[in-house]
């Protein structure tokens, strides 16, 4: 191991200055800044979502009623939908209603979007929770093992498998898993549709196979981050000090290296929420699971733009909340900041 190869993202001078200036409100200020960032991000997302809705070809009333509807009906519908008003007014109205919990009306299901989105989001969260419960420990262990064997065959195998798993489309791994466990071994159900009133364990049993494609993709990301964090921590001054102080290697790893190495991994796990929902769309379609992903898929297939826009904005919000939580968590976990130097 070469100590000279130390690569820290934060210069140590800046670090100590940061610690010295630590006050009670550092965290509040930090969170306020991140919160402001999230709001700006959400604003841009909402603009993007809204204006993509505007380039829908032809007019909305015509698209909904079909080519044979008469002109009066189309114009009446356009007026009713408010699409004949100025864009800025439409955007304002949309956002204002959204904030008040009125997410619009789905043409496809003729129901308020909120009534459809909430149960769907709940189901998707269950699936995502199962996937995360499996992949977080697995990914961290994979990354740590790779880092401890850096540049040896174990590391190469874990890294290449992780990278390949991360770029293997979910429907490809999903199909192979369905074939193996659902069709040939017949040990896991191939559709995530449990009987009504099923208990938590039954639901878990139905969700194992659908969560696997997500696990494969996320494993690559998490393992790569954990590996990079570990390598950096192993190369750092405090590890050298601990080793030179004669601490047993095992203790060095547990007490000093792991704690510092896993901080960036938390941020990465949170940043995968965005990906996760894209992945959910494929997995939920493949396994016929009525979550937010399949809702988006149906909305896109049926050109149900109000529902599509609402869903995408909700995804943006979920992402922003997850990122904020990750910031909060890494703030709490980082001893340098928490103890104030």
């Amino acid at each position: 191991m070469s100590w000279a190869r130390r690569t820290s993202t934060m210069p140590s001078a800046a670090q100590s200055r940061f610690s010295r200036c630590f006050q009670e409100d550092t965290m509040n200020r930090f969170l306020a800044r991140r919160f402001a960032h999230s709001l700006v991000t959400l604003f841009v997302v909402s603009l993007l979502v809204f204006f993509l809705g505007q380039i829908l070809p032809g007019n909305l009333g015509r698209a909904i009623l079909g080519p044979f509807a008469d002109l009066q009906a189309v114009e009446a519908l356009n007026h009713q939908l408010g699409v004949d008003r100025p864009l800025l007014v439409q955007y304002g109205t949309w956002i204002w209603h959204f904030i008040q919990g009125d997410m619009g009306h789905s043409y496809l299901y003729s129901a308020p979007v909120a009534d459809l989105v909430v149960p769907a989001l709940n189901r998707s969260l269950k699936l995502a929770a199962v996937a995360f419960l499996i992949v977080v420990p697995l990914g961290i262990v994979g990354g740590v093992v790779a880092a401890l064997n850096v540049n040896r065959p174990t590391d190469r195998i874990i890294s290449i498998c992780g990278l390949s798993a991360a770029t293997l489309p979910e429907f490809v791994s999903g199909i192979v898993l369905i074939l193996i466990f659902g069709v040939w071994l017949r040990c896991l159900p191939i559709a995530a549709a449990w009987p009504d009133g099923a208990g938590a364990l039954t639901q878990l049993y139905f969700l194992i196979l659908p969560s696997m494609p997500l696990v494969l993709v996320l494993f690559g990301y998490i393992a790569r981050m954990a590996r990079a964090g570990m390598i950096e921590a192993l190369d750092s001054d405090y590890t050298r000090t601990a080793v030179l102080n004669g601490l047993p290697w095992r203790k060095v790893i547990w007490r000093h290296v792991l704690r510092n190495a896993l901080l960036p991994t938390i941020t990465v796990i949170a940043s995968q929420t965005g990906y996760l929902i894209g992945g959910l769309m494929v997995v939920e379609t493949l396994f016929r699971y009525q979550g937010i992903g399949s809702l988006i898929y149906d909305a896109a297939k049926g050109k149900d733009f109000p529902m599509l826009q609402a869903c995408v904005l909700i995804i943006g919000i979920t992402y922003a909340v997850a990122t904020l939580l990750a910031d909060l968590l890494s703030f709490r976990l980082n001893p340098r900041i928490r103890m104030g130097g």
Partner: protein, 285 residues
């Protein structure tokens, strides 16, 4: 990453090639990629059957001596379809990637070189883009613009651009402080000259590595869109599309209708990753 520009001379280049071809993983990856490129170029001339020809009498036949990979529900030869099916993905994904690399390089050069307000605005935009998964942006745009190959290329290209821009920006940030940039500034060269003539050639290696890595993701996104029915349209033998039309039959035991397409996608994705990994290793040392 090297801290200063090493001129890529003949000896350096041959050194690189030797390093690359000594790595078994890289050679395997490149060979598989070339195999599929060959199939996409010459597939229609070498396959035993017309990939689009129905033969309803032989529908859903299991793999046999005549039909190596079996036949689908219209009796089309799956072996021929898998070979020719490489064509769409190997056109759309690389085109999208070229667009993404161009967009990403320009954005990265601008944000990294000018910093300040340009950097802030573009960074916020990139952050916003990161908040929505690429597949969903692609979906929104495709629903709005209608399904076509061009839409898929443009949408994936534009949504991958910002990701590449981040890498380019990071590379530019470390380059712009170096002496040769200061020298160019002293010579009163304009910004465009410094960015594209001075800095760009020196940051090509990280751009190349990033693009190869992103090619894997582009293939991911393109096949996913085909699978969801928003990309290539029937009767194309595209892999993602074939899986999407046939996967409802696997519970009936017709595994051969999807498994070979799935393996084809997997082999291409893994091969691209092996190539990217090899390049990364060789160029970063």
């Amino acid at each position: 990453m090297t801290d200063f520009a090493i001129p890529v001379t003949r000896s350096r280049r041959s050194e690189l090639l030797t390093a690359l071809f000594r790595s078994g993983a890289f050679v395997a990856g490149v060979s598989i990629v070339f195999f599929w490129v060959f199939c996409s170029l010459f597939g229609p001339y070498i396959v035993p059957f017309d990939p689009l020809a129905d033969d309803v009498l032989n529908a859903l036949g299991p793999p046999s001596a005549v039909h190596w990979f079996g036949t689908d529900q219209l009796g089309r030869d799956i072996f021929s379809r898998v070979i020719v099916g490489s064509r769409d993905i190997l056109t759309v994904a690389p085109l999208a990637l070229i667009l993404a690399t161009a967009v990403g390089t320009v954005l990265g050069l601008l944000t990294g070189y000018f910093r300040g307000i340009v950097d802030d605005v573009v960074s916020r935009l990139i952050e916003a883009k990161m908040a929505i998964p690429g597949t969903i942006i692609a979906l929104l745009a495709i629903v709005a613009l209608g399904t076509s190959q061009t839409t898929v290329v443009v949408v994936i290209g534009l949504s991958f651009g910002p990701v590449i821009a981040r890498t380019v920006r990071a590379a530019v940030l470390s380059e712009r402080e170096l002496d040769y940039v200061a020298a160019a500034k002293l010579r009163m060269e304009n910004s465009a000259h410094i960015m594209f003539i001075e800095i760009l050639p020196n940051i090509l290696p990280p751009i190349l590595v990033e693009s190869t890595v992103r090619l894997g993701y582009a293939i991911f996104a393109v096949t996913t869109l085909s699978f969801l029915g928003f990309g290539v349209q029937p009767p194309s033998p595209d892999w993602g599309l074939s899986i999407s039309t046939n996967y409802s039959m696997i519970s009936g035991g017709y595994w051969w209708t999807v498994v070979f397409d799935a393996l084809a996608i997997a082999s291409l994705v893994i091969a691209v990753n092996l190539t990217a990994d090899g390049l990364h290793g060789a160029l970063d040392d």
